[in-house]
Symmetry: C2
Subunit: 333 residues, 2 copies
């Protein structure tokens, strides 16, 4: 059964099953206000061959990842409750309905885990499959901003990095067999799950609020690591007018990954780990590291030296002072 | 200068100029609440070759139309102030920057006319140019719903139909030269403008609120005619469980268009006129027709006859009782 066989009206009718009854009946969705919390809105594109591929994931994974990537941006802004998402679906007429069904099942599954509903959307034909997701949420205890770090802050990562890239490498058989086998089955499965089913860290936002030191105002620098840990750190450092000093012995990755020659590069530049990277006053950072399993201090923000203003936004290793390299993000063009 | 030459970071830097300062600096956008009005959210896709074409419009037109189509859906829900839009842009690496610049200039121009700001978005490479717009607005005096019409309501159109389709025909040289010339230059220009620069009827929503008869509760059936006048009427009739009776002598189109053999078909099924089609109690309809230039009564909603329940959502001509045909919308698949 292809989309061509269904036609647009029947496709829309079937997709409406993934939204609350009547939700897709009108020209647009109406959101009732619920309290005074500001809204957070985010739009992400996922394009076949660039952001997903039949070779490495099924349609449910595509849907899950699409929602998760968007909700991760909400988490990176300090989002509490998720309101929902709109979904723009572009697909050629010869796309199987089963693929679309899988994608929407994956989207629904992610919303089921993290909150929020399918609010609306649009469908169109096109040469290449593409999803455009817009997610809406409400700010929780406070807004997290890329530019709100300060010199003296701890740099904190809510979880491991490089796993998603390792998962992709395993799915694409990039690693020689002995290397892949040496990682052990549990880590291989964990890496593949990290790639196919990333978890937006809305739970970490909650933990962050619970760890706020009494008397401290809300001030949290932060972003998610969708473009890579190094890129996230560089954004926090740049936004704070600081240099980021990273502890090379405390890079957030599993030891087995650290032993791979690619390990450090994948940890810093692999991307798509969807963890939060935060700049916090030390007492807050310490409390969060103690409270949130997997969360660790990875370095500090420091003021650039005199005459060193150009270095704001740069990364160096804490012990050696050498610049951190090899973490530059991916350019789409 | 192609997107490949710019790279993603420089592209994002340039696009930020179309948003308020700092608006695009973070992972997502934060919207401060302004009063208790519910939000309206809408997502539309525009795909190269299906929704726009270099052959018939420039990049500023593409941007304007993309915003206008979305704001038209907000208007169709009863939107008052527009909050803004997010823009997802997919474009191949060999896309000229000048094209993207033109699209964003057109988007900005539409927002300048109708209110709202560029709130955020995303960019990606891809095989085919595509825009995914999500628009956010606040409900004005009340929500307009497709299903809120009732038997006895007037069917009202806020403006002419078929002009956008005529404009496309002129741009594609579909009409024989004598026929095109016979239309006269003013109508030709008007039709081309209707195709390239449609106006979302947020003004009509304001007029509608001002015309609400004293003592009448807010009850407005309505949708926009993006998919064609006939499709809009069918949705209102179906939502109300009614039959739509149209006055064939009062079809909303310029007389010159009515004289073309294609005129009636384009008026009913041409699509993309982005007017509002409303179902209103007669006193309200009469007041709106009197207050809003170009607005006219096109027919009525009537209860289906006994044993005629299957006819709900159907269209017939008022005088003859014959079914209205030839207005079926376009299917994307």
């Amino acid at each position: 059964m292809l989309l061509r066989d269904l036609g647009e009206a029947e496709l829309l009718r079937r997709l409406a099953a993934y939204a609350p009854p009547g939700q897709l009946d009108d020209d647009a969705a109406v959101l009732r206000p619920s309290g005074d919390a500001p809204l957070v809105v985010n739009t992400d594109l996922l394009v076949d061959g660039l952001h997903f591929s039949d070779a490495t994931m099924g349609p449910e994974d595509v849907g899950w990842r699409a929602a998760a990537a968007n909700l991760s941006d909400l988490a990176a802004m300090g989002c509490g409750p998720v309101v929902g998402i709109t979904v723009g679906l572009v697909a050629p007429a010869d796309t199987p309905w089963a693929w679309v069904e899988g994608v929407y099942a994956g989207l629904s599954s992610a919303l089921g885990h993290h909150g929020g509903q399918l609010l609306g959307g649009d469908c169109s034909g096109g040469d290449q499959r593409m999803l455009a997701i817009t997610a809406l949420g409400r700010v929780g205890a406070g807004v997290i901003r890329r530019g709100d770090g300060r010199a003296g802050d701890w740099l904190v990562s809510t979880g491991p990095h490089g796993l998603s890239r390792l998962g992709l490498a395993l799915l694409q058989r990039e690693l020689p067999a002995p290397q892949a086998t040496g990682l052990g089955e549990p880590l291989r499965q964990r890496a593949i799950a990290a790639h196919r089913r990333p978890r937006p860290r809305l739970d970490a936002v909650q933990a962050l609020a619970q760890c706020q030191p009494p008397g401290s105002p809300w001030r949290v620098g932060g972003t998610d690591s969708s473009d890579g840990l190094g890129a996230a750190v560089a954004q926090l450092a740049g936004g704070a007018g600081c240099v980021a000093e990273l502890n090379r012995n405390a890079l957030p990755m599993p030891p087995e990954l650290a032993h791979l020659p690619q390990g450090e590069g994948w940890c810093l530049g692999g991307g798509e780990d969807f963890e939060l990277v935060l700049a916090l006053e030390p007492a807050w950072g310490e409390a969060l590291v103690a409270a949130l399993p997997g969360c660790q201090r990875i370095g500090d923000l420091v003021a650039p030296g005199a005459g060193d203003a150009a270095a704001a936004g740069s990364l160096r290793w804490q012990a050696s002072g050498e610049p951190v390299t090899g973490h530059r993000g991916y350019s789409h063009f």
